[in-house]
C-alpha cells in the first residue's frame, strides 16, 4: 500500500501569536510539526504495519518545514517530500489543497492520504476535504477507527452526535482525530535515519502547476481586545477576618 501523510509545520502551541503590522507573528517561538498531524502519521504507520507498503510524508512550506518532516521520518515514515516555492507565500487553504493534490499525483499510485483534523495555527480544518475534492477522491473526515480491507476503507467518524461508520473505495483522503490513539514517540533508529535524510524539495514547476490564485483575502488583522486582570492580596489579622473581607469583595463585585 502506498500511503501519504500530509503534515504542516506550525508555531509551538505555547507560542504567543499576535497581529503585528498587518502580519501574524509568533516571535521567536519554535516551529513544530502540527500536533494533530502526529495522529495522521500514526494512523498512516499503523496501516503500513498492517498491510505493508510505504509511508511518504509530504509538507508544503519553507525550508524550515524540513524539520517537521524529519519528525515524521523519526516516527517511522519511509521518505519525505517538501513542496516549496516562493510563489506559495501566504497561500490560502484552497491553494494549499491544489498544491498537495498535485504532489500526491506526482508521487503516483497513492492509495490513502492522511491528514490531521486541522492545523493549530489556521484552525480552518478544511484542507483535507479540499484536497479530496481536487483529487476527486472520497473524503473520510474525523476518523477515529480505520479499517482497510482490500480496496475498501471503513472508518468510524468521531462527530458531535456520536460515532458514524462510513466506508469508501480507495484511493481516499482521511483526516484523523485524537480518539484514534496516542501517536508514537520518535525512535532512536528513526532519529538516526531522519538526521541523515536528504529531503527533496519540489517547486511548482516540478509539479507542473502555476501558483493557485487566492480565493480568500485578509483585508485586516487585529488582536482580540486585551482583558485587564488585577491581582490583589487580601491581608488581615486572622483567617476569619481575611475570609470576611474576601466574602465582602465577592459580594460587592457581584461574583455571587
Amino acid at each position: 500500500m502506498k500511503i501519504v501523510a500530509c503534515i504542516k509545520q506550525v508555531p509551538d502551541s505555547a507560542a504567543k501569536v499576535v497581529a503585528q503590522d498587518g502580519q501574524v507573528s509568533w516571535g521567536d517561538a519554535p516551529l513544530v510539526i502540527n500536533p494533530w498531524d502526529e495522529f495522521a502519521v500514526e494512523a498512516a504507520l499503523q496501516q503500513k504495519e498492517a498491510h505493508g507498503g510505504e509511508v511518504i510524508a509530504v509538507s508544503m512550506g519553507g525550508e524550515s518545514a524540513k524539520e517537521a518532516l524529519k519528525h515524521a521520518l523519526a516516527m517511522g515514515c519511509d521518505s519525505a517530500i517538501l513542496v516549496s516555492d516562493p510563489a506559495l507565500a501566504g497561500v490560502d487553504t484552497q491553494g494549499t489543497a491544489k498544491v498537495l493534490a498535485a504532489a500526491i499525483q506526482k508521487v503516483g499510485g497513492v492509495d490513502l492520504a492522511f491528514f490531521g483534523r486541522q492545523a493549530i495555527d489556521g484552525d480552518a480544518g478544511i484542507t483535507p476535504a479540499q484536497t479530496a475534492r481536487v483529487l476527486g477522491w472520497p473524503m473520510l473526515g474525523l476518523s477515529a477507527v480505520i479499517k482497510v480491507d482490500g480496496g475498501k476503507v471503513t472508518v468510524e467518524r468521531s462527530i458531535e452526535e456520536g460515532r458514524q461508520t462510513v466506508s469508501a473505495e480507495a484511493p481516499a483522503v482521511l483526516s484523523v482525530v485524537k480518539d484514534f490513539g496516542e501517536p508514537r514517540y520518535p525512535s532512536f533508529m528513526g532519529i538516526r535515519k531522519a538526521s541523515r535524510a536528504d529531503i527533496p524539495a519540489w517547486t511548482l514547476a516540478d509539479l507542473g502547476i502555476s501558483a493557485p490564485a487566492p480565493v480568500v483575502a485578509w483585508p485586516e488583522l487585529m488582536n482580540p481586545p486585551s482583558r485587564e486582570v488585577a491581582c490583589e492580596f487580601i491581608t488581615g489579622g486572622s483567617p476569619a477576618e481575611i475570609a470576611e473581607k474576601l466574602a465582602d469583595k465577592i459580594i460587592a463585585e457581584k461574583v455571587l
Binding site: 524529519k70 514517540y185 525512535s187 532512536f188 532519529i191 538526521s195 541523515r196
Partner: protein
C-alpha cells in the same frame, strides 16, 4: 573548535526532552511521595533508545555517542531525579560493563533483553558495609570456583536498581591473596537461589529509585557468567565509574536546570515591596550565579563526554565535571529554595524535592573527596 550539537544530537535532545516533559516530569512528585518506581514511563523508553544508550545496535541498543548519552541523562534529571538515577545506573553501571567487556553470548543473553525494554533493568553491586571508596582492600564478597560454577558469598550495600533488575553485576574477590588483580566481575541473575534483596533503603531523596542491601548466600552461577577477565574486576570497575561520573554530572546539570527554571518562574510570580521579586537585585544575583554555574558545568560534562567519544583519556575531566556539576547543583537548588522563601521549603513546590535528590550526587559513584584525589593525582604523581 565546534560547540554545536550535530543534527542527530539536536533531534535526539528534542525527542528525549519532549518524552520526559510528557511522561516523566509530570510524575516526579508522585514518584517521590509514594516511592514507587515509574515503570509506566520506563516501559516506553525502549524504542526511544533510553534503555540501551551504550548497547550496540545489533543487540537492540541505541549505541549513541557519549555526548548524546549525557544529553539524555541531563534531560531525565530535568524531569525526575529518581527516574534519571535508575536509568543512569541501568545504562552506565549495569549495561556498560557488558557492552564493553562482555562476550557475544553474554550480550545476547543479558544485554539485549534489558536494552530493548523487554526485560527489567540492570544493576551493578560494588559497595559493601566495609568497602566504598576503598574497593581494592575492602571487598569481602568472594566467589570460589566449584566444578563448573562460581559459589558466591557476601553482602553488598547501596545497590541501585537491585529490585527492578534482571541481573546484578557483582564485584567479587576471586583471589584471597588480595592486590589489584584479586577482584572480578560476575553476572548474577536476580532470580538465583540464595540471592536476597533487602527492602528498599529509606533515603533523604531519590525515593523513587530503589536502593538495596543484597546478600549472597552460597549463590551459584555458571563459570561463563564471569564478565571480562578474571582478576581484572577492579580495573573494569574504575573504567566503568569514569563513564558513570559523566552521567552523574549530566544528571546534576538536569536537576539544577529544573530548579533554576522553577526559581525563574517563581521570581516573576511573587511580588514584594510592590514589584515582582525578579526586579530585586538580590534575586537577580542568585539567578545569574545559577545560570553561570549551570552553563559551565554543562560545558565541562560535554567536554568529558566528547573526550570519551574520541577514545582519549577522560578520567581527569570526568572527575572535574562530576565534582563541579554535583556541588553546583546543591548550591543552585539551595538558592532556588531561598528564592521561593517559605514556599520553597514546602512540598507544594518542586525545589525541595530537587534539593534532596541533588544531595546524593556528591556521594554516589565517587564522592567529591575521592574525585578530588583523582584530580590531584594528575598533577602531583
Amino acid at each position: 573548535m565546534d560547540f554545536d550539537l550535530n543534527g542527530e544530537q539536536r533531534m535526539w535532545q528534542k525527542a528525549v526532552h519532549d518524552f520526559v516533559a510528557a511522561e516523566v516530569k509530570p510524575k516526579a512528585r508522585e514518584v517521590d511521595e509514594t516511592a514507587e518506581f515509574n515503570w509506566a514511563a520506563v516501559k516506553k523508553m525502549g524504542p526511544l533508545g533510553l534503555l540501551g544508550l551504550n548497547a550496540p545496535e545489533e543487540f537492540g541498543g541505541a549505541g549513541v555517542d557519549a555526548v548524546s548519552a549525557a544529553i539524555a541523562i541531563e534531560e531525565l534529571g530535568w524531569g525526575c531525579g529518581s527516574t534519571a538515577l535508575a536509568i543512569a545506573a541501568h545504562n552506565g553501571l549495569g549495561s556498560a560493563p557488558i557492552a564493553r567487556f562482555g562476550s557475544e553470548a553474554q550480550k545476547k543473553k543479558f544485554l539485549e533483553p534489558v536494552a530493548t525494554g523487554r526485560g527489567k533493568l540492570a544493576a551493578l553491586a560494588l559497595t559493601e558495609p566495609g568497602a566504598g571508596s576503598d574497593l581494592q582492600g575492602g571487598v569481602t564478597t568472594k566467589a570460589v570456583k566449584d566444578g563448573d560454577e562460581w559459589a558466591i558469598n557476601g553482602t553488598k550495600m547501596w545497590c541501585t536498581n537491585a529490585s527492578i533488575a534482571d541481573y546484578i553485576i557483582t564485584l567479587v574477590r576471586t583471589d584471597p591473596a588480595g592486590g589489584s588483580h584479586s577482584l572480578s566481575m560476575v553476572i548474577v541473575p536476580t532470580d538465583a537461589p540464595g540471592l536476597h534483596i533487602a527492602p528498599a533503603e529509606k533515603k533523604m531523596g531519590l525515593k523513587g529509585s530503589p536502593t538495596h542491601a543484597v546478600t549472597y548466600d552460597n549463590v551459584r552461577v555458571p563459570l561463563e557468567n564471569l564478565l571480562g577477565e578474571e582478576g581484572r574486576g577492579l580495573h573494569q570497575t574504575l573504567t566503568t565509574l569514569d563513564g558513570g561520573r559523566i552521567s552523574i554530572g549530566a544528571l546534576s546539570v538536569g536537576l539544577a536546570q529544573a530548579a533554576f527554571e522553577a526559581a525563574v518562574d517563581y521570581s516573576h510570580q511573587r511580588a514584594t515591596f510592590g514589584k515582582p521579586i525578579a526586579h530585586h537585585q538580590a534575586i537577580q544575583w542568585m539567578i545569574a550565579e545559577a545560570a553561570m554555574n549551570i552553563e559551565v558545568a554543562r560545558t565541562m560534562v560535554h567536554k568529558a563526554a566528547w573526550l570519551k567519544e574520541q577514545g582519549r583519556p577522560f578520567t581527569r575531566e570526568a572527575a572535574i565535571a562530576k565534582t563541579f556539576a554535583t556541588e553546583m547543583a546543591e548550591t543552585v537548588c539551595r538558592n532556588a529554595i531561598q528564592i521561593h522563601g517559605g514556599y520553597g521549603y514546602s512540598r507544594e513546590y518542586p525545589v525541595e524535592r530537587i534539593y534532596r535528590d541533588a544531595r546524593l550526587m556528591t556521594i554516589g559513584e565517587g564522592t567529591s573527596e575521592v574525585n578530588r584525589i583523582v584530580i590531584a593525582r594528575h598533577y602531583l604523581d
